[in-house]
């Protein structure tokens, strides 16, 4: 096929650019363990309020100081609405829903989860700076979607 010289050059430049993009993604994924949240655990949405960690959601403190936070995202509220954790320790959020899809996004961090009934979404973050972080729902869930709001209160490092 006849391809103009400049067009050929442009195609190579485009290929190189895309190769750099893909290379950067592969390097940060492999070397930096930088992956999107892809937890594949399931849970029965009908019994969330009855038994298991989501019946009494909240913070669990582990011996090494790290925290696990179970959260139920349900029609227009995160349970619990406020979460207290210290700065400087890994905090793993485990979130699920008893009703429809919700979002779980902690503003100012890379925690951004799709929350689905029947599945447990999970992300781990270490807060470096103490302060109050806003949690929002970013997946439309009904007429109170914009009212879903929570907060993470990050205290001084232990």
């Amino acid at each position: 096929m006849q391809v103009d010289r400049y067009e050929r050059l442009w195609m190579w430049a485009a290929t190189a650019m895309l190769a750099v993009f893909i290379g950067a993604i592969v390097v940060t994924a492999v070397a930096g363990s930088n992956h999107p949240p892809s937890h594949t655990e399931v849970v029965n949405p009908d019994t969330l309020g009855v038994r298991g960690e989501f019946a009494t959601p909240g913070v669990t403190v582990h011996p090494d100081g790290s925290r696990t936070v179970a959260i139920r995202a349900e029609f227009y509220v995160f349970r619990p609405e406020r979460v207290h954790v210290p700065a400087g320790v890994p905090v793993t959020f485990r979130v699920t829903s008893p009703d429809v899809l919700h979002g779980f996004q902690i503003v100012g961090t890379n925690v951004n989860l799709t929350v689905a009934p029947g599945y447990v979404s999970q992300a781990t973050v270490t807060f470096e700076t103490p302060g109050e972080y806003l949690i929002v729902c970013n997946e439309y869930c009904g007429l109170g979607h914009h009212l879903m709001q929570g907060s993470v209160i990050v205290g001084a490092p232990r």
């Binding site: 429809v100 996004q105 869930c141």
Partner: protein, 539 residues
Amino acid sequence: MTVAARLVLAHLWVAIAAFALGALMAVMQALARAGVELPFGTARLYYLSVTAHGVLEALVFTTFFIMALGYVVAETTLGRVRGVGWAWAGFWVALIGTVMTTLAILSGTSTVLYTFYPPLEAHPAFYVGATLLVVGSWIWCGVMIASVRAWRAANRDARVPLAAHGMLATVAIWLLATAGLAVEVLVFILPWSLGFVERIDPIVARTYFWWFGHPLTYFWLVPAYVLWYTVIPQVAGGRLFSDAVTRVVFVQFVLFSTPVGLHHQFTDPGIASAWKLVHTFTTYAVMFPSLVTAFTVLASLEIAGRARGGGGRFGWIGALPWGDPFFSGVALAMVTFALGGFGGAINAAYAMNAMVHNTAWIQGHFHLTVGTAVALTFMGATYWLLPRLTGRAIAFPAVAAMQPYLWFIGMQCFSIPSHIAGLLGMPRRIYTGEFQGVEAAQAWIPLVNLSAVGGVILFVSAMLYVGVVVGTMLVAPRGARPPVEYAEPVVPPADGPSIWDRLGWWSAVAVVLILLAYGPALYHLHTMQRFPAQGFSPF
């Protein structure tokens, strides 16, 4: 353009009516978001209008316009549309479906947004209507394929006309895309919506939805590219830079536009990250033909600018026909698409996606791409098509000449603040961004207000477009119909049959790619233990 003119106009009127109603919904949202007191400003109406706007603009306006364009191309490059009766049947089926879905939305019983993620449950009429719209478009696909085959049978040794090749690629993409949608709707949603089964798995449904959802964007974009490649160089007074490369570009879209959908589901549970990484690679692959398009179309425009007497390194740009609303609409669409394309590279970036997923950034992104690159091209093309279909010159030419610029300004004003607000954490699709006045949300307020100004400018531009179209039909006198002409290529296609024209075979290759990209993830989803959900209608 005689037999098909009525057919094309019928599709255009539905497209433009949907566009106008959708625009009305949009301006209400922009004002509500900015906290303007509206007598009808309730959350219920807000989310209803988001649903209506998405369905009417993204699904109805685009689909009907693309069907109209397909018939124009078939009639003017292949001689005639084969099966005009079928084409009308497709029109009516799609129109009945559109009316059903629209009424379901306006009745307030189907506020599920245009993504309709289960277990949000709409009125069954919403799903049945949407199904009919797609079935109507399938009939269009059949008519387009029959028209090309009939032409091929009569012209064994000739190359398929380029515009027809591009529209056939659009047909292939649409059939590959809607296969996923058909599984989602026919296998999972309709039996659940009609009460035959009680439960539905949201992640399985989403995965089939996005099998459809991403190639949907190429179903919108490739017809716009057909106009950019085959018509705009002629309108600008130049030639198409390379016919040969253009055909390869269309084939690449057929191959790579579908096996990419998991990049919409990076944050989803239930799907292992390895499959998401595979879809990241294919998503970057589908950027390649768009990058080539940037070169070929710009080179074609440079030829036009120089032919019009523009000299120097950049002087040819000023020599282009900026007062022609089709040309200016497409040129501004291209500039906007460059911005949107780079935003898309960020959306597709595996881990970086967490910064922007479902934030206001996303609404900013797709208003640059489908909302401008595609919609502004279609608006401009309307000004080009109407005289060729009806013999009427465009009414209010000064208004038409200004309208694309107004859209461009309004859209930058809307989209750039949306991108920034998204990076600052503002979610999309929210009735208000107040969040009880918390500090993080304060930074969003001025950006949202600026977006609302953009929304109002866009609405004015939309109404000017509708006004010019209606005015043309009502007041402009009938005259001679100008011909529909296509650009001559500088590099013509090689003589004789070519592998690049065999879109049926390329579609078969695309099916293999889809099975490779989706097979493992879907197999895992379908075989793992799951707890499907019951439906909710919280609206």
